[in-house]
């Protein structure tokens, strides 16, 4: 199967180089939440979450997959190539050049990785966005990846878990990027029609055409703490209504309050949450209390009839 690449182990990846680099001890980073100066190495060990205030910074996509899959093991699924720059788009810079820059910077074809493995023993196909690649914008390549991931999930009877981190549609692909909205919704529907879980893990940021398509039609929506999630950009809204926005607007907790997500979780608890819901949705027997499975003693039966 040509679309299966080699088994990736995080340690080997670190040795051979790639996007993950060794971090020198002397690097510090200021927490955007509380301004504490944080040791970069320590920050990385803490999943890019501030130890002082719990602020969740963005996470590199490879690291995201490493911490998602059991023992950091996953298989990357290659995505069929799509038309490159059919619009011959150019603003102050050519789109093709922006694309090449992003590809060189990230060593990736587009703003997404599709991978498969297990999460808490459950078969999972994951599609995770790389915000560092043109703001995680969705064009034909990203759409193709969602379709590929969904179909792989159906073929292997796996759950499909998506991790959007995106500014929205990639405007350099014009209406073709807009068409990825119906396209990715069809992909999500194929997973759901196959009776498989389709889970959306909303990470910072998820906005625009990505939110308004496959990211809002999940069986379960889980959001990482503090992530920005919305349709219209905050600045656009401010300009329209000419008012300042309410505190916490378009953050995970705001969406939870407004009924748009099921669960807001800390990054460190994400896998546990994901594992639990996947096991429940897939009727995985187990758990500690199996009292319901045994025969009911005669005297214990309720006399009430319903």
């Amino acid at each position: 199967m040509s679309w299966l690449t080699n088994f990736v182990r995080p340690k080997i990846r670190a040795l051979v180089g790639g996007p993950k680099k060794e971090i020198p001890d002397n690097l510090w980073e200021k927490c955007p939440g509380c301004s504490t100066m944080l040791f970069k190495r320590e920050l990385e060990e803490n999943l890019n979450v501030c130890r002082a205030c719990g602020y969740h910074m963005r996470l590199d996509v490879v690291r995201r997959l490493e911490i998602l899959f059991d023992e950091g093991r996953y298989r990357e699924i290659s995505v069929p190539k799509v038309l490159v720059d059919p619009l011959k788009f150019r603003d102050q810079k050519k789109y093709i050049d922006r694309l090449k820059d992003a590809q060189n910077k990230t060593k990736r074809q587009d703003a997404i990785i599709v991978a498969e493995g297990t999460v808490g023993g459950q078969k999972v196909v994951a599609a995770a966005f790389d915000f560092a690649f043109m703001g995680g914008s969705m064009g034909m390549g990203v759409g193709e990846a969602i379709v590929t991931g969904a179909r792989r999930a159906v073929a292997t009877k796996s759950a499909f878990v998506v991790f959007p981190a995106s500014g929205g549609a990639r405007m350099q692909e014009g209406a073709l990027s807009l068409m990825q909205m119906p396209r990715t919704i069809i992909a999500a529907d194929e997973v759901k029609a196959a009776g498989l879980p389709y889970i959306v893990v909303l990470t910072d940021p998820t906005t625009g055409g990505v939110t308004a398509s496959f990211a809002m039609v999940g069986d379960i929506h889980i959001a990482e703490r503090g992530a920005q999630i919305g349709f219209a950009g905050a600045r656009v809204i401010e300009n329209t209504i000419r008012e300042t926005l309410p505190p916490g607007f378009q953050r995970s907790e705001y969406l939870l309050d407004h009924g748009m997500v099921d669960i807001v979780t800390e990054r460190k608890n994400l896998n546990e949450t994901l594992t639990r819901v996947l096991r429940l949705l897939r009727k995985d027997k187990g758990g500690k209390n199996n009292f319901l499975l045994g025969p009911v003693p005669h005297g214990a039966r309720s006399s009430k009839r319903i």
């Binding site: 034909m140 759409g143 405007m171 909205m181 349709f231 219209a232």
Partner: protein, 317 residues
């Protein structure tokens, strides 16, 4: 009628013709010849301008306030129109008009965005920018169409979904996503017609159909040229460049395989001959309805899904 900057000289000729018409009431015979001459000149200039409108000019034409709007089409083309209101959850959003009616005799569900034509109606219809309740009303009506096996006709004309705090609080993104999903899942024909501006997610929410028709000078884009320019050029004044780069004209979109058919506009644009435009739209929708009525539900659904799955596979020459 509002005169667009590139229509200036045409408008001057038209004014002159009007003046002469008034004079001719006084009985001067040779004025008729003069009027005819001027009319030829107007027609020539209209051809010169409108045969090769730039993308930025098309944006202006597509947004022309005197272009027929959703309710104009409904009034002229739909018999027994019965507007239906509300999403049964929160409110009725008048940015999206919906209801039952008869299109050339055939009962169907009509859904469309209405921008309004004066200050009062623009406010009533929120300038055609729908909130979640509008998209949820659309979903409800599509469900009803599905249940009664009525074809759905949508008229697309919006700058985009409304960007506001209340819209976000009530789940604008979810409402749009579900509306697209509904378009893709109904077992009846869905014909979408972009009559003016097809603004991004707010447009595709009701436009993921079996046939997407588009008026000759309408536009359909992932982002407004102004929005695109302010992000990529860091200046909204480059909107004309953005309009060209985005390939948002009907001609571009037909080439990209995103729309199925272009409906020609009368000479000088829909705003110059509203009745003619409405009739042409009526004919085109009628033909599409007739063609789609030949397919059973399963074929219809499969073809629609395959069409959207294949988007972008067709190359542009």
């Amino acid at each position: 009628m509002q005169v667009l900057d590139f229509e200036q000289s045409i408008s001057e000729l038209e004014t002159k013709i009007e003046e002469l018409r008034h004079l001719s009431d006084g009985g001067r015979v040779n004025i008729a010849d003069e009027i005819a001459k001027l009319q030829v000149k107007v027609e020539k200039q209209l051809h010169q301008v409108y045969d090769k409108l730039t993308p930025a000019q098309k944006v202006q034409v597509a947004r022309h306030p005197d272009r027929p709007h959703c309710l104009d089409y409904i009034k002229a083309l739909v018999e027994d129109f019965t507007p239906l209101a509300g999403d049964r959850l929160f409110a009725d959003d008048q940015a999206i008009i919906g209801g039952l009616g008869r299109f050339s005799g055939q009962p169907c569900v009509i859904i469309g965005q209405e921008r309004g034509h004066d200050t009062e109606s623009r406010i009533k219809h929120n300038f055609g920018m729908a909130k979640p309740e509008g998209y949820r009303k659309a979903q409800r009506l599509m469900d009803m169409a599905n249940r009664f096996r009525l074809p759905v006709i949508t008229l697309v004309d919006t700058a985009g979904a409304f960007p506001g705090v209340d819209a976000e609080a009530r789940g604008q993104a979810e409402a749009i996503a579900r509306s697209i999903e509904k378009c893709l899942n109904i077992n009846v024909p869905l014909i979408a017609c972009v009559i003016g501006e097809g603004g991004s997610g707010g447009a595709i929410a009701i436009a993921a159909g079996d046939r997407v028709l588009m008026l000759e000078h309408a536009i359909y884009s992932v982002i407004s040229p102004e929005g695109c320019a302010s992000i990529l050029w860091r200046s909204a004044s480059q909107a004309a460049d953005a309009a060209a780069a985005l390939r948002l004209t009907a001609q571009d979109l037909e080439q990209l395989g995103i729309i199925d058919q272009i409906i020609p506009e009368p000479l000088g644009g829909a705003h110059r001959n509203r009745e003619e435009m409405i009739a042409r739209v009526g004919n085109a929708i009628g033909e599409a309805l007739e063609e789609l009525s030949r397919y059973d539900a399963k074929t219809l659904l499969n073809n629609r899904r395959e069409k959207y799955l294949a988007m972008g596979k067709k190359s542009v020459s």
